[in-house]
């Protein structure tokens, strides 16, 4: 109405356009914004909102142009955030990081920018910077749920369970019904060998999010550790429904089956595990153990050699530590199979405490490469926990494979996690 009454007023046109935008009529909104732009060329809001409309229409290049013009006219955090989202939607992580870096320079106290940047660095495996930014977020806002979760998971991976737990306590006061939070808390307890506490937390997480494969995986793992093989089987088969291409899950299932004395199906599970997994030597080791125990030495040897190949790959590609228990079993099995000089861990055997004295028992996998071997980062985390400062050190080299999914303002759009696809149960 107002636009009709005084058509020369840019503000009225902007309001009309905004209403159209909120109704989801993005094309119409763009037209009205263009009208308004004719009246007022130098309005950053018009450029910004045009950019947002184009994002919804998936015309990312036009959106980018508009947002960049908006930035030239008048810098605002929101514009930076939208630009960053465009790059993420396009899959261009490096540009996204660039934009967020500039944004953080412009507005160093904006926790959303800091957290997003931290998570991006985490995704690329640049752990030092990730932790720095997440730590900064927490200095400005100690109850920031996102930052706590991310920073806590980094600390946990490094073995600092107590520090992570104190951080999670703060987060739990704010957001109690968060399944990922309860999952991580549970795995802290697991790391401290408090299995009953771990199970209670996991049960809670599972109640809140029954379709999450990670929670089901962890439930299976803890039950296996407690030698409750039937329960473990139940949870692991549920997890496999959601994540049918993960070799490790089949390996754990096979362990459960072995201990439930179903050797035949255990072997089938191991076969699947070995077929799917490309980098975790533990899968082959456990299969070798089963085969050896069954007296099939030749097949056990074959699996053992596969394990060695994977170990070599990991040794030279990253400075990871292996689980001492795994190393011990591998050496003994190697001796039993009479592998001889080809034994992969001969050198570390003679000097098992050579390089890294960290107490963390890191597991070598593709899905969760641990940070445990990076001592500088470890010191950084511990000191950050107490003082909130960070010494400079070498960055880690491993990668996490989970992409961040960011809410698109004003409405959140949720990217489906790759794990959400349900699949047929693998029959035993």
């Amino acid at each position: 109405m107002c636009a009709v009454l005084s058509p020369q007023c840019a503000d009225n046109l902007k309001q009309v356009a905004r209403s159209l935008f909120l109704l989801g009529k993005h094309k119409a909104a763009i037209e009205v914004y263009n009208e308004a732009a004719k009246l007022n060329q130098k309005d950053w809001e018009i450029c910004h909102n045009l950019g947002v409309c184009y994002i919804y229409l998936k015309q990312f290049d036009k959106a980018q142009d508009q947002l960049l013009s908006a930035l030239h006219l008048n810098r605002h955090d929101l514009t930076y955030i939208m630009l960053g989202k465009i790059f993420l939607l396009k899959g261009d992580l490096d540009k996204a990081i660039e934009i967020y870096k500039k944004a953080v320079e412009f507005s160093p106290e904006n926790t959303e920018l800091l957290t997003t940047l931290g998570l991006l660095y985490l995704q690329l495996g640049i752990y030092q910077k990730a932790f720095e930014h997440l730590g900064n977020t927490l200095t400005y806002d100690p109850t920031n749920h996102k930052a706590i979760l991310a920073a806590g998971s980094m600390m946990q991976t490094h073995g600092d369970f107590d520090v992570a737990l104190t951080k999670y306590k703060v987060a739990a006061c704010g957001v109690t019904e968060s399944p990922p939070l309860w999952n991580n808390i549970a795995m802290c307890f697991f790391g401290k060998k408090k299995y009953v506490a771990a199970i209670s937390c996991l049960k809670r997480a599972n109640y809140l999010a029954p379709l999450e494969w990670k929670i089901l995986y962890n439930l299976g793992l803890v039950h296996l550790t407690m030698q409750q093989y039937a329960s473990a089987f139940h949870f692991l088969s549920a997890a496999i429904n959601f994540q049918p291409k993960m070799g490790e899950l089949y390996m754990l299932l096979a362990v459960a089956l072995t201990n439930l004395e179903d050797t035949e199906n255990a072997k089938r599970a191991y076969e699947e595990a070995v077929r799917l997994d490309k980098c975790n030597p533990l899968v082959n080791l456990n299969y070798a153990v089963l085969l050896y125990n069954q007296g099939e030495k030749r097949d056990a040897l074959a699996q053992y050699q596969e394990m060695e190949k994977k170990v070599n790959l990991l040794k030279y590609s990253s400075s990871l530590e292996f689980d001492p228990e795994m190393m011990e079993v591998a050496q003994k099995l190697g001796a039993a199979l009479q592998v001889g000089e080809a034994l992969v861990w001969t050198k570390p055997v003679k000097d098992p405490k050579s390089k890294h004295q960290t107490a963390s028992t890191s597991k070598a996998t593709c899905f969760q490469q641990p940070l445990g071997s990076n001592q500088a980062l470890g010191q950084a985390m511990s000191s950050a926990a107490t003082y909130g400062k960070l010494p400079s050190g070498a960055g880690g080299t491993s990668q996490l494979t989970k992409p961040p999914s960011l809410p698109l303002e004003p409405e959140p759009t949720m990217e489906a996690q790759p794990a959400e696809a349900s699949a047929q149960t693998r029959e035993k």
Binding site: S178, N183, E212, L252, K332, L400, P412, M414, E415, Q417
Partner: protein
Amino acid sequence: MAEMKSMFREVLPKQGQLYVEDIPTMVLCKPILLPLRFMTVPKLEKIQQTAQDTIRQQEMTEKEQQKITH
């Protein structure tokens, strides 16, 4: 034979799966348990039905009486 074959134990991973981000996901609606009323509902319906019938009959008889008197 000579010696006992030593049995090996499998090695379990020492670290589980962690979440780095809290992304909203789909959840199932929690089931609501309805109270069981399958006996009482038909009974109530019957009572209502009979009450309505008696009222209708009464009305009919009243009408007929009025017709007769006029």
